[in-house]
């Protein structure tokens, strides 16, 4: 069983996201350890990009802070290698196509494998462009995670059939960020995925920030993903954010597990 499959094997998953290098990589590493200890099932590590077109203002600002602080893809690989000495929770990178492409696809995925990453999420690589990246991911033992959106009608079956690791269900239209209400019929989306591929786990992200939302979204699927709400805590408390991130993840993970 892959480490990602393992993450979904013990009840509902809780998946936090963090932008690497915001405000610095020491804080990121400390937050990752704290999130793992607080019950994260899988952790998404964001490699910052200058122009993150799928992100709302909260994560955009985190990208700017991280890049102005001098973080690079190489420094993030080094951080992960260091973390992997004691952190066993599955981890996936979430970044943009150009970060991987420009580094050299094979070179990027070799290093990702060597430092112990389990998967890759590229929000600007849809099903139509997946085959450019998927074989190299496979060759290095990383799952390329597929996304489905509320507008994916008619596309869900083919996406689900080819999916690896888990399916990232985008809860709402628009970019990442906290929402007071999620109106999409998540249950119906998940059912369509399961119909095409009964074994693939589905986790719901975009807009989730409260324990109530996490509980509800996880109940309708296999897990909940939270990004902006965590990045907000880090934006507010900076290097002092670690204990707050730990408490928040513990509360959200417990809620997701129901």
């Amino acid at each position: 069983m892959s480490r990602i499959a393992e993450a979904f094997a013990h009840g509902k998953a809780f998946i936090p996201f963090i932008t690497c290098g915001d405000p610095d990589l020491e804080t990121t590493a400390a937050c990752v350890r704290a999130m793992a200890e607080a019950g994260a099932s899988l952790i998404e590590l964001g490699i910052p990009f200058s122009d993150p077109t799928a992100e709302g203002p909260v994560i955009q600002s985190a990208n700017v802070r991280a890049l102005s602080g001098g973080v690079t893809t190489d420094k993030i690989f080094d951080m992960v290698a260091e973390l992997r000495k004691d952190v066993v929770v599955p981890m996936v990178f979430m970044t943009y196509a150009n970060v991987v492409f420009s580094y050299g696809m094979d070179r990027f995925l070799s290093r990702a494998q060597a430092v112990g990453m389990d998967g890759l999420i590229l929000p600007d690589v849809p099903f139509e462009e997946k085959e450019e990246f998927a074989p190299t991911c496979r060759a290095h033992g990383l799952d390329l995670i597929s996304l489905i959106a509320p507008t994916s009608e008619g596309r869900i079956a083919e996406i689900a059939k080819a999916a690896e690791g888990f399916v990232y269900c985008v809860s709402s239209l628009g970019v990442t960020g906290v929402r007071t209400q999620i109106t999409t019929d998540i249950g119906a989306m998940v059912a369509l995925v399961k119909q095409a591929n009964p074994n693939i786990p589905c986790a719901v992200g975009f807009g989730i920030s409260t324990p109530e939302q996490a509980r509800k979204m996880a109940a309708l699927s296999d897990g909940a993903i939270v990004g902006s709400a965590i990045v907000k805590i880090i934006a507010q408390y900076g290097r002092e954010a670690v204990p707050r991130v730990r408490d928040y993840v513990a509360e959200m993970a417990a809620a997701a597990r129901g």
Partner: protein
């Protein structure tokens, strides 16, 4: 490889949320591009509203002064709203209307595409929101006013470098949040498939007219066609019907800013690398980690870190040449054409004029150069005066 490729370039690198929207757009375009009624309406708008065909003017004084090839100017600056942008906008707005969309969104740099989109929205009774970098809203306050006057909302974009690329990003974000009634009227031959093809087709009226007009005036093909390239829509429009005529040199002029050996440049083909951004694979100005570089040019319309995928391909196969032109050269050409021909070109188009000044004297008197004057220069007068150390108060 996926759809919409020009060699290795192009593609559809878009969030899943927008995939059905671009597929729906492609299907609608495939239908309407051969639809008699659609083409009749579009031609009527081109001719009656935008003032097409635009003139092909023999620049006698420039020709005499440069002492080489005969120079013709394709006067896209005479179009309604003052630039080639209206060609694409009328096409896309009409297509969006046929698709049942009621709202247009657009990005703009200098404001030319924004004004054109606001104009088409007014004409076709559609709602319109234009995203414009905050820096550019300050530099082009008059165009912001024009868009509002035309009934559009202008949203200043404060993220990133607060210029054109950020306006594109913000328009894409807006589109993911509101798709059902909204068409993203992209302003250049860039972005995900089918935009590079749609925009090129609507702009290709430029080369179709040049070919016919020159046949009438000279009875032959031009020896060179010169156009400025940011994303590259006026250039691809001017090149398109000559791509299969190998005797015609196709020359794109990129904005070198303060020089291709400095960081203050926007010359993508001269200084960029292959990458994936804003929905397409093409050449981009970027650092070693793939972070998109802040670019600079005196021309807000060429101030973009990428280039359209069809240009990247024409460069790869050697069919078109791309040359960098500095701010200094463009400003000299802006003044030169104003003085010699009584035509004030847009600072973007002045990049093409600058290269013609270098090329014409090396050619024979029987040869012909066509320069695409993509827009008029009224909008640039204050900035050029400032460049020369003179402040103009409006």
């Amino acid at each position: 490889m996926s759809k919409g490729r020009f060699g290795i370039h192009g593609g559809q690198y878009m969030p899943e949320t927008l995939m059905n929207a671009v597929i729906e757009l492609e299907e609608a375009y495939e239908h309407y591009k051969n639809d008699f009624e659609f083409n009749r309406e579009l031609t009527a708008l081109f001719n009656e509203y935008a003032g097409r065909p635009s003139r092909l003017y023999f620049a006698k004084r420039m020709t005499e002064d440069l002492g080489g090839a005969k120079i013709y100017l394709k006067r896209e600056d005479l179009n309604h709203t003052g630039a080639h942008k209206i060609n694409n906008v009328l096409g896309q707005a009409l297509l969006a209307k046929k698709m049942g969309k009621t709202r247009l969104i657009a990005e703009t740099g200098a404001g030319q595409h924004g004004v054109a989109t606001a104009t088409a929205a007014a004409l076709l009774n559609m709602e319109c929101v234009v995203f414009m970098g905050e820096e550019d809203t300050k530099r082009q306050a008059l165009n912001v006013y024009k868009m509002r006057l035309l009934g559009s909302k202008v949203v200043p974009v404060t993220t990133g470098t607060a210029t054109l690329k950020d306006a594109v990003s913000e328009a894409m974000r807006e589109w993911t949040s509101r798709i059902s009634d909204t068409h993203y009227c992209l302003g250049s031959v860039m972005g995900p498939h089918p935009f590079p093809t749609i925009v090129r087709d609507f702009q290709s009226v430029i080369s179709r007219e040049i070919k016919a007009q020159l046949r009438e005036k000279e009875g032959k093909l031009p020896d060179a066609v010169i156009a400025c390239v940011g994303g590259g829509s006026n250039a691809i429009g001017a090149f398109y019907h000559f791509i299969d005529d190998p005797s015609v040199r196709l020359i794109g002029c990129e904005a070198a800013g303060r020089g291709v050996d400095t960081f203050e440049t926007a010359a993508t083909i001269a200084t960029g690398r292959l990458g994936i951004f804003h929905g397409m694979k093409s050449y981009f100005c970027q650092d070693e980690y793939g972070q998109i570089a802040p670019v600079y040019s005196i021309s807000a319309g060429l101030d973009y870190p990428g280039v359209g995928p069809e240009h990247a391909w024409l460069h790869d196969i050697g069919r078109a040449e791309y040359v960098p032109i500095t701010d200094d050269e463009a400003v000299d050409a802006f003044e030169y054409m104003s003085r010699l021909e009584g035509i004030i070109p847009a600072i973007e188009s002045a990049h093409a004029v600058a290269y013609a000044r270098k090329l014409a004297p090396t050619m024979d008197k029987g040869q012909i150069i066509v320069i695409n004057i993509s827009g008029r220069g009224d909008k640039d007068c204050a900035a050029i005066a400032r460049y020369r150390g003179e402040e103009i108060v409006e």
